[in-house]
Subunit: 301 residues, 2 copies
Amino acid sequence: MNILVVGSVALDTVETPVQKVTDVLGGSATYFAAAASYFSPARVVAAVGEDFPLQELDFLKQRGVDFAGLQIRKGKSFRWAGRYGPRPNDRQTLLLEPGVFSHFQPTIPEQYRDSEILFLANIDPELQQSVLEQVRCPRLSCCDTIDHWIRTKRQILLQNLAQVDTVILNDAEIEELTEESNLIKACKSVLERGPRTVIVKKGEHGAVMFTPDAFFSIPAYPVELACDPTGAGDSFAGGFLGYLAETEDFSQTNLRKAVVYGSVMASFTVEKFSVDGLKGLTHQQIKERFTRFKQITYFEC
Amino acid sequence: MNILVVGSVALDTVETPVQKVTDVLGGSATYFAAAASYFSPARVVAAVGEDFPLQELDFLKQRGVDFAGLQIRKGKSFRWAGRYGPRPNDRQTLLLEPGVFSHFQPTIPEQYRDSEILFLANIDPELQQSVLEQVRCPRLSCCDTIDHWIRTKRQILLQNLAQVDTVILNDAEIEELTEESNLIKACKSVLERGPRTVIVKKGEHGAVMFTPDAFFSIPAYPVELACDPTGAGDSFAGGFLGYLAETEDFSQTNLRKAVVYGSVMASFTVEKFSVDGLKGLTHQQIKERFTRFKQITYFEC
């Protein structure tokens, strides 16, 4: 199955307690596509400025990622700068310069409009809605967002959530969206709005998946040297939807395996800066970490 | 196997966003014994004042808990008051009146000195050390503590940790003890001091168990109406050690099951105020929640 992601391709400046990197490859669509590429290469719709070092995307093109939907526009690329504290879940945004992204219109190329899996990364909910109108009839649509859009474009965001099959949020976002601090109640509240699956990413505390019939919970992979958490959530989504695209099976059993593969890909991401943790992996490395998840969570019944 | 717990039997005043209860039954030894009693009744060493409503302990006596080691002293009982925020992991201590506990000397009755499993609840590390000297040769010894003792009696606490088999801490405590924010590194650091097992309780985020050979991680039971988190950690320890006492099997396989039973007992505790969540449970209810843990965490490999 083919996957379409609409999100950002950006340049990030990241400070951690250990190191700082400047203008490195980032963006939600980039992380998503890098993680998904190990299962099923994605089609990317995004915009960058003329200053963007396009050769940075070569490793993704070599992995089959399709950038026919990448708009190269006059102006500056989207830049984000952030600082992490000793706990990877503590993030402070230092700078957010949308550049060409402030006028981005996600025109979906004709050959992408039949995409079977659609991932709406954390872009403006109005743009997400425009994408939902253009993509004809995805077999699975999935929506992410960030606190900024929950605060500023809540109504249109809620309309989008009602139109997609799966919502992927982090724990702070779902609390803000539903105004409910209990995770179970928050998930139920989102399900009532329309989606049939809600996934909550809890960073170092793992992830949960909530459907009307089942609750699945998995810890985070035990990473000893968490370097840079940027992009972990988008890598999770890439692993999750990439695995579903590869296997073409949306059963509860397979959704759970997809959540584990999402967690595996996020664990590789946080071990290095930028998308470096997602470069040059082997399928055996990915499978080994999946098996390790089983060992970590297994108990006899 | 018989279990000895040395800890507090106290009166708690608890404020949550929903309700406030005053002078209700609490204390680490109380919660521990209540949870353990469904597997293997414990022997309790603690002290209360003459003001203590002893009939409150009748339900535990009826469940076989042995209070021959409970000292009734002139003066006031240990009182604790705390307030929880909307997130159960946010706790503020409002009052701590040790009362008779400030002069408590844990004299272990002769008939308790052969106890096979020993739980040192969060009492003064000097008292913990005194207990370690009195109990002859436990098959399994386990130590808990709180931030206050980490700050004020660090050296003697570290000596205690080196003498026990298992350390049970929460995530904030292990970070403070080891000065290491990465959970894996923190667990390794504790293991290096002597214990062969470290368990970290993460409240609403579950628990992890770390041994030299294995890492086990389990989410929290999804409680929709978390009422009062007080005593969840001691209930966890009670379920964990109670199950080990009942099964007399300290293998990795059984330790993992014990962690799940610990999490099950903690989940019952948080659903009601005081120890009410641990009253009148059936073995079937406990087993059902254990099975539900399997359903929540299971994925095909």
